[in-house]
């Protein structure tokens, strides 16, 4: 009874399954290997295979399923496997994640079981994950014997090619080879002379590898892989990466140029602060970690650190183990958090650099262990809100590769590392800075006094207008027909005198500035006629006054033709930060292309503005500087300036009161200015005293050879409190009735000072050591001042352990991953396709032996990139033609994707190389190396790697040619889009470069000679006859088009010919 029922049930099962099969596939019988195994592999192996055996079940062989009784041959319905995969209860159903198996997949399994689960022949169990090829120690394979090639690269490849019956292509033309080599090794195309270099290949290779530009070229590659990004955020608020991260970029370039070992580079990047805590040169390397800084979320910050440390150096996708054990690789979720624990204590700070105390100007971004006791918890399902408090997480590397890990040894730090304010240069700089502040405040006070005296005289003068003061050069009138150096200085680029007016030719967000030579009268009026002619977005014309030399402080009025709301706006910049008050704004009508007349009158803090004779705005500025210059500029706009008149304010000007403050009369305002100047001086003096006292206390406190000096410490405390009090008094007076936020900050400071004073009286106050570094905020709610100014005296040593493990010669991944990256950039394709994942998803490469040979060679050479580069580029393979021309039919049939390197792969130039090449061929490239990041713009001709590189500031031209993805760029994409055609055809840079290149080639050359020389220089090869003909036809067509013939038109045509060649596919291609 029981048996027959079972038979019936299973036969029903079978017929249903068969029916379904008929519906879904035309397949005859179910084939285990074809229909079932791949499904189980994709969906089940990660938990029931070699990696893991949940519930002691493996489903990677039919036999193992039967042995575990998950499959009962002949009884589909009774088989646990079927019960679980077809269960409708989500808690019971397998697989637990993602969709259930599809109906036809279940039906196939059911059918296979019902037909007694026939076993495939010789089915092998899944390999042990630890036996994956890339997890095996690197062993130098023997060179293939059967080849006469001298270079090991050629030898390995020749063996494969011979086996496959492939014939290699001929070597490329010498000039093509040289162009390839120059672009590859230094990122710049060869000059005409360099293309004719007949010295041996090796000599040229060595010369290029020794060039300072080699580090720039390959530095940019590693900046891709190591995710270089300049800081970005909101306004001045740092949210991502770090300010002045260019120090790390310079370290990368310099390290490559001195051929520092890759192992050493990794150690410095991960643990420079532990191995050389006093060496700023080495500390720069830790920018690698500082780059991951994220203001809002520590977990996101550390996730990035973990993911990209894993991918960049090890080709391991740790990130997949954040929420659950890795699906493919033997990395458990716990390993993920053990890895996190290595980084848990670290934070980022800016250290002082000599001569600079303002961290907005410069500072060294670096990491250090700050929270030595910070605990790490496993986040259940990756959710930070669900820490597993039961499980103790200790720092460590993934267990499956931990055999060669060393012990974690804490590092004692030297004084300058944990108390940066004790370094003599820092103390000197802080004293000097305090002195400067006092000096400036004193000068300012003097000026205010002089101004008051002047004002008193004016009061008495009966004249309606201020008398002409010949010394002051006012009134000043200019119709901008030509530059007048007596009146103006011209700063920056982009402003030029043209067609009888002053013109901003190209829109820029860093426009040129016309600055008055002489300081303005305190009260003045300006009338300017100008036309905003265009611009991308803001189209602003700015009139600054009270401007200091660097433009970091100014009051100003501007007009904007920005489409959603053209306006007149009063604004002010303090220490580089600009405020655009809402009550300093008035709407106006759009006037692009129309001349406008703007008149500004300023009396003390009150400004009135008229546009084309109509009053539009009254605004009271929060403050005036006692001395300052006037400037005009066009921001994000093109504009023509027709005329200007600046004069001392007439007594009869009728002012409209502003809404933002009650009108105070001029004398009162001057009184306030005087009072502020006095308070500012007091505050500066208190600051100076405080710095002195602090340094004295620090010197005594940190000198362990001497007895403690409580008197000095008390004096320092007293000094610091006085400084707070004086600053609070000044700030409160300054912002009274003005900026509410600043006023409340000043009030808070006053409160704090009061609290400190009380504590001092109780004997509980302690002085703070000199604050000489700036720790990046851990959350937006924090303030720098609330952090201690001295850091832990010890570092955990965790990151040193990590770095040593990564660079241990026993580590099977590090060298392989690096060699693969280098190979890909020389040969256009990697040896291992998944460049950032060498885990089990990465198939064993065809050229496994070559990869291992190179990795072994790399390690044995002292991890020398220079050695590796030389080995690769001196191979015959590297020098082959990239063309299919003349290739045997077999080659194209047998290996159409060139996986065996029977020819060279052509490569699209990286965006930086496109721009640098244009400028370099034109002789325009400024080859200065290193230094702060520069905002892009055609005006600057530095190499592209020095451009600010952040999501907020991307260069438009570079973006068009697939600039590095800032989040992850282990390999660049190379698109071919029409925007590239437009950029190369229409950009001023390309057009101007063409002219200069044509001149350099030599316009005096005969036409055919010129064409040949242009091809040689730009494409690295001479033209064939039909190409010459096409060019000649083009030149004659141009001549037909042009009415007159002259030398200048001939030049123009040749410029256009060169321009066309710059647009040739083979200009942007490395052949």
């Amino acid at each position: 009874m029981f048996a027959s029922q079972r038979v019936i049930r299973s036969s029903i099962g079978f017929s249903i399954a068969a029916g379904l099969l008929m519906l879904t596939a035309s397949a005859s019988a179910v084939d285990y290997l074809r229909d079932i195994k791949p499904v189980l592999k994709a969906r089940c192996y990660s938990c029931h295979g070699a990696l893991k055996q949940k519930a002691d079940l493996r489903v990677d062989t039919a036999l193992s399923m039967i042995a575990a009784k998950a499959v009962l041959p002949g009884d589909a319905a009774g088989s646990e496997l079927i019960k679980r995969i077809s269960n409708e209860d989500d808690d019971e159903r397998m697989p637990p994640e993602g969709h259930a198996l599809k109906e036809d997949q279940i039906a196939a399994i059911r059918s296979w079981i019902a037909s007694n689960a026939p076993l495939p022949k010789d089915e092998a169990a899944e390999d042990d994950p630890r036996s994956h090829w890339s997890f095996q120690a690197i062993q130098r394979p023997p060179l293939p014997a059967d080849s006469d090639q001298a270079n090991p690269v050629d030898r390995f490849l020749a063996a494969r090619q011979k086996e496959a019956g492939l014939i290699t292509q001929a070597p490329a033309l010498r000039t093509i080879q040289l162009r390839r080599l120059y672009i590859d090794l230094i990122g710049l195309p060869p000059t005409e002379k360099q293309l004719k270099d007949e010295r041996p290949w090796e000599t040229i290779v060595d010369e290029l590898l020794a060039s300072p530009h080699h580090g720039e070229r390959w530095g940019r590659h590693w900046m891709d892989i190591w995710r270089y990004s300049d800081w970005y955020g909101l306004g001045a608020q740092l949210r991502y990466s770090q300010k002045h991260l260019w120090h790390w970029r310079d370290w990368i370039v310099e390290s490559l140029n001195e051929d520092k070992g890759y192992d050493e580079m990794i150690i410095e990047m991960l643990a420079g602060d532990e191995i050389a805590p006093e060496d700023p040169e080495t500390l720069r390397a830790t920018g690698f970690l500082a780059r991951n800084y994220f203001l809002f979320n520590r977990t996101t910050w550390l996730d990035s650190t973990i993911e990209h440390t894993g991918k960049a150096f090890l080709g391991l996708t740790f990130n997949c183990a954040k929420c659950h054990d890795h699906k493919y690789d033997p990395i458990e979720a716990e390993d993920y958090y053990r890895f996190r624990a290595i980084f848990e204590p670290h934070q980022v700070r800016l250290d002082p650099v000599p001569g600079v105390t303002d961290f907005e100007k410069d500072g060294l971004p670096r990491v250090f262990d700050n929270h030595l006791d910070a605990e790490t918890f496993l986040h259940q399902r990756g959710d930070p809100k669900q820490p597993d408090k039961e499980l103790k997480i200790t720092p460590g590397v993934p267990r499956f590769l931990s055999q060669f890990a060393t012990k974690i040894e804490p590092v004692k730090l030297p004084l300058p590392a944990y108390a940066p304010g004790t370094q003599p240069f820092v103390q000197r700089d802080h004293l000097a800075a305090a002195d400067t502040l006092v000096e400036k405040a004193r000068e300012n006070l003097e000026k205010v006094k002089v101004e008051m005296a002047k004002n008193a005289t004016l009061e008495k003068s009966p004249a309606k207008k201020a008398p002409h003061d010949s010394e002051s050069n006012f009134p000043l009138e200019d119709d901008f027909t030509a530059f007048n150096p007596l009146l103006w200085t011209l700063q920056g680029n982009g402003l030029a005198y043209k067609n009888g007016h002053l013109e901003q030719i190209n829109p820029s967000r860093e426009p040129g500035q016309l600055v008055s030579k002489h300081p303005l009268p305190r009260d003045f009026e300006v009338t300017c006629r100008y036309t905003t002619t265009g611009g991308p977005t803001y189209r602003s014309i700015s009139f600054r006054f009270d401007r200091d030399e660097a433009g970091k402080n100014a009051n100003f009025i501007y007009t904007s033709e920005h489409a959603p709301g053209p306006k007149v706006q009063a604004a002010y910049t303090e220490n580089g930060k600009t405020t655009y008050p809402a009550d300093g704004r008035a709407k106006k009508s759009e006037a692009t292309g129309k001349p406008q007349e703007l008149r500004i009158a300023v009396r003390d803090q009150l400004a009135n503005v008229w546009l084309n004779g109509e009053f539009v705005l009254a605004y009271t500025f929060p403050g005036r500087r006692a001395d300052g210059h006037f400037s005009l500029s066009a921001f994000d706009a093109t504009a023509e300036f027709h005329s200007i008149r600046i004069e001392a304010l007439g007594r009869d000007v009728q002012f409209t009161k502003s809404k933002n403050t009650s009108e105070s009369d001029s004398e009162e305002s001057l009184d306030k200015t005087l009072r502020l100047a006095e308070l500012e001086l007091e505050s500066a003096i208190a600051g100076q005293e405080s710095v002195k006292a602090t340094i004295a206390a620090d010197t005594a406190h940190y000198d362990k050879t001497k007895a403690p000096a409580p008197a000095l410490e008390k004096a320092a405390t007293e000094g610091q409190i006085k400084e707070m009090e004086a600053r609070a008094a000044f700030e409160m007076a300054k912002h009274e009735g003005g900026d509410k936020k600043k006023l409340s900050a000043a009030t808070a400071l006053k409160k704090k000072a009061e609290g400190q004073r009380e504590a001092l009286q109780n004997g509980t106050a302690a002085y703070k050591s000199l604050r000489a570094s700036r720790k990046a905020l851990e959350t937006p709610a924090h303030k720098v001042e609330d952090y201690p100014s001295v850091y832990p005296e010890e570092s955990t040593g965790r990151r040193t352990m990590l770095a040593k493990w990564i660079t241990a010669p026993e580590n099977p991944l590090t060298a392989r991953v690096a060699v693969n990256h280098v190979w890909m950039r020389h040969f256009g394709e990697p040896l291992v396709e998944t460049v950032s994942d060498f885990g089990r998803q990465a198939k064993k490469p065809i050229h496994h032996d070559l990869l291992d040979f190179l990795a072994a060679e790399f390690i044995e050479s002292g991890w020398s990139f220079r050695h590796l580069h030389r080995l690769l580029v001196t191979s015959q393979t590297y020098q082959l033609s990239s063309s299919n021309r003349g290739a045997s039919g077999e080659n194209l049939q047998l290996d159409p994707t060139n996986s065996l390197y029977w020819k060279m792969n052509p490569m699209r130039m990286e965006s930086q190389v496109v721009r640098d090449s244009l400028l370099h061929l034109a002789g325009d490239l400024d080859l200065t190396t290193g230094g702060p990041s520069l905002d892009s713009g055609n005006a600057k001709n530095r190499r592209s790697l020095y451009f600010t590189h952040s999501p907020d500031k991307l260069d438009q031209f570079l973006t068009t040619f697939d600039d590095a993805d800032l989040l992850q760029c282990y390999r660049r994409s190379t698109s071919i889009v029409p925007q590239q055609a437009l950029a190369l055809s229409n950009s001023a840079m390309s057009l101007q470069s063409a002219e200069k290149i044509a001149t350099k080639i030599g316009l005096e050359r005969a036409q055919k000679d010129f064409i040949t020389a242009a091809f040689d220089l730009i494409l690295g090869r001479s033209p064939d006859s039909s190409e010459v003909e096409a060019c000649e036809t083009f030149l004659s067509e141009l001549a037909t088009l042009s009415a007159e013939e002259s030398n200048s038109s001939a030049t123009r045509f040749r410029n256009q010919l060169v321009h066309a060649l710059l647009n040739h596919n083979d200009f942007v291609t490395v052949r």
Partner: protein
Amino acid sequence: MSKHLHLPASSFLHRRQFLHRAGLGFGGIALQSLLQEDGFGAGAHSAFDGKPQFAPKAKNVIWLFMRGGVSHMESFDPKPMLTQYAGKSIDETPYAHVQDPDRLKNVRVVVVNDANGKQRNVIYPLQVGYQKYGQSGTEVSDWFPHIGSCVDDISVIRSMWTTDDNHGAQVQFHSGKHRLDPPAPTIGAWVNYGLGSLNDNLPQFISMGPRYFDKKDGHYLGPAYDAVKLKIDLKNPLDYAKPESDLSGEEQGLGFGLVNRLNRLAKNHYPNDPSLEARIKSYELAYRMQTAVPDVINFDNETEATKKLYGLDQKETKSFGEQLLAARRLSERGVRFIQIMHGDGAAGAWDQHSKLKEKHSELAGQVDKPIAGLLKDLKQRGQLDETLVVFATEFGRTPGTQGSDGRDHHPYGFSVWMAGGGVKGGIAHGSTDELGFHAVENPHYVTDIHATILHQMGLHSHAMEVPGHKRLDMDFGSVIKEII
């Protein structure tokens, strides 16, 4: 053209990657199909061949996005209870349960800031009246009377929710991914990726107006799928639109001609090189685009009546109206996805933490007429049936007041609407609770909008995946069946 480059079937990934990298920013798939026709991609991936996967209802999308967060209660989801309980704190109303911690847990905080992203407890009354419009009687606030007059062509979805309580929700609305997750392609990029070009002279994915702070769309699909930025500026409609020199049109034409002739001749030196083919094609498109793009924004041939319909005659509506008129002209010419954002400023102009009444009414005044004009114009031209217009914003605003006259960010419930492209008219789908706090009936996460758009365009949202970039169910969304 060559037919000699044969790729073995096993090199799918390789070929796909090539096509991917060689893809064109617009007409990207056009190039792919071109290469396929030429035998370069024969037998390649069948999921995207540049054609819809099933019969589409819509050919293109006009995506209108109000940056900053439009108050749902004061636009398309009026809540009279707010006026009734004005001044009371939420826990004094019968709806105190809306603040149960359990119901608030979806939110993921990126920006910690006292100034925004907070619960605001004291109920702020409605700042505007509303009325029923059309035969459907859907209620619309008095700030949007023109859109109200089109309501019988509109499906309002009043039950949206998202998880980012700050303006990162703009990124989330476009890509479905929270700011704390790795970035993902936006809906416009997916449409561009999934569908072929209908016009080889124009980009298939265009953006106008101020971008939100994520300036990219393609992300892991590659820069070829980023939107091409268009400006309503005849002199300078897009980057590098014409020579930054005195080169004449004829000279430039000859130059382009030479470039293409030389690239073709280069095939003698480098036969069977797909990059040469792609490069030639890209120059041809670029050259045609130089004329086609300015033509789109040249409104000379539009009647005065049409211009008026879009509000081009009024100062406050002119700028947005021009973008919408350009959008109609782009959609007419077969551009697949036209993304227009409104509301400049770091966070977006609609971000009324204060002065809600003054600012919202002003901003609504800038967009209401042009949007209604667009709908009417599309309709009278018979284009509305195949053009899907979407009106969206990143989140709603709090029922409670911030300061004396503002509302804070509110991710738990808000409204968007769709019209045309096979979407039913006169529907108000889903709802929030009486306070407009939570989406309660038929709640929809932002990707449901994406799934619905893709569905109307003839694409399965679940097919929108590329190797190496696993997506969750939530990332794909579900089609909102009730409105189509």
